[in-house]
């Protein structure tokens, strides 16, 4: 065995070195072709896929967070909107109520005013009717009493002055 270590000795099987060189290279090539290539390719593909999946998950999560925030904002704003609508409705109801009441007030005032003026006019009419009636009546009475045809116009002016005096007296 010791002779094997002495290079150049007659018995050294240097062919073994060549043999192992060749067989090692062939083995490496075969392993590369049948196992190493496909497996490392798959390992690379897997690590790539994992990185991609992680990236995708991150992206999706941030998107979901954004969406949730948007929803929350929308909910908040819709609540505020609802409050605003209710308060606006209340306000408009109030103003409507006020306007209705004031309308009613003014209408009532008008009605009262009209009634007043109607009453005044009716009184006046009645007064003038009465005036006329009294004039003719007194004329008739006077003519019957005096039995003399008095001038109607003179009589009328006489009655008028009398009535005027009466009304002035009444107004007092």
């Amino acid at each position: 065995m010791a002779g094997l270590l002495v290079l150049g000795a007659n018995q050294v099987a240097l062919g073994d070195m060549l043999f192992i060189l060749v067989s090692f290279i062939v083995l490496a090539l075969l392993v590369k072709h049948f196992a190493w290539g496909p497996v490392t390719k798959m390992m690379d593909a897997r690590s790539e896929k994992i990185t991609g999946d992680l990236d995708y998950a991150d992206q999706e999560r941030s998107r979901a967070e954004k969406l949730a925030k948007e929803r929350e904002d929308a909910l908040k704003s819709s609540r505020a909107e609802a409050v605003e609508i209710v308060s606006k409705a209340k306000e408009s109801g109030e103003t409507q109520k006020k306007s209705i009441v004031s309308d009613a007030h003014s209408e009532a005032e008008e009605v009262r005013q009209r009634a007043k003026s109607d009453a005044a006019k009716a009184k006046e009419d009645a007064m003038s009717d009465a005036q006329n009636d009294i004039a003719s009546l007194s004329l008739e009475i006077a003519s019957k009493v005096i039995s003399k045809e008095l001038n109607a116009d003179d009589q009328k002016s006489l009655i008028d002055s009398y009535i005027k005096e009466l009304t002035v007296h009444e107004a007092k």
């Binding site: 062919g15 073994d16 060549l18 067989s23 090692f24 083995l27 390992m43």
Partner: protein
């Protein structure tokens, strides 16, 4: 030991049949192992693929610890095949020895210095090749005079010591393991049944330890190969 070998002379070279057959058996075993484990390569690995990927990750880790900057990726395959081949070679002689007519035909190929020297040659040639490829031939030569000029002889000497330590460490460990196994074997045969029973646990213990040594030596050889390659590829 007193093993006898058959030699074949071919094209002016002498071939040791035992070495060559053992190398062939180891290579075929490695190939069968790897081939069987890589039949169904899928994105979600099965058991076999997991085992293979675990081995690949292991040797990739060896390369990465020597070359952390990712430049060692091209050596991943080499480290993988080297590790598996040496591991299988180391274990081969423990359970599979063929002797016909006094001549040994199959044993651990790594228990022969020429085989380990062949493997060391591959590693060191690779380191020189990639150093020349990276720095150019001038740069490669000037690296021998770094970091200071007077280290040139030491650096040159280192090339030979690297080669010898790398190959002879592996050879020594495996050869010693086989020698001791053979010794235990002769003890077992020496006095009939008594020694046979006595030698049995010894042989078992030593075989278990040899499996351990074989694994460690395969790891050491691969690691040192990668360290030598990485040292050649950087400028001090």
């Amino acid at each position: 030991m007193d093993d006898k070998y058959k030699f074949i002379d071919f094209l002016g070279l002498r071939f040791n049949v035992a070495n060559d057959l053992s190398v062939l058996v180891s290579a075929v075993l490695v190939f069968i192992l790897v081939f069987a484990l890589s039949r169904k390569v899928t994105m979600r690995p099965g058991k076999a693929q997991n085992v293979l990927e675990w081995m690949i990750d292991f040797t990739n880790g060896i390369v990465k610890s020597a070359m952390p900057d990712g430049s060692g990726k091209q050596f991943n395959l080499y480290a993988f095949v080297l590790f598996l081949f040496i591991f299988v070679s180391n274990q081969l002689g423990l359970f599979f020895q063929v002797k016909v007519g006094g001549f040994t035909y199959v044993k651990s190929p790594t228990s022969n210095p020429l085989i380990t020297m062949g493997l060391a040659t591959v590693s060191l040639l690779l380191s020189h090749y990639y150093a020349v490829k990276k720095f150019g031939f001038g740069g490669y030569l000037s690296n021998y005079a770094r970091p200071v000029k007077f280290l040139l002889p030491i650096n040159l000497l280192e090339e030979f010591t690297n080669f010898l330590t790398l190959s002879l460490r592996l050879y020594g460990n495996i050869f010693a393991g086989e020698v001791l196994l053979a010794l235990i074997g002769t003890v077992a045969k020496s006095l009939g049944a008594v020694t046979f029973v006595a030698a049995m646990p010894l042989a078992m213990v030593w075989q278990g330890f040899s499996v351990f040594i074989g694994a460690i030596q395969a790891y050491v050889f691969t690691t040192l190969s990668m360290v030598y390659i990485s040292r050649k590829m950087e400028q001090e």
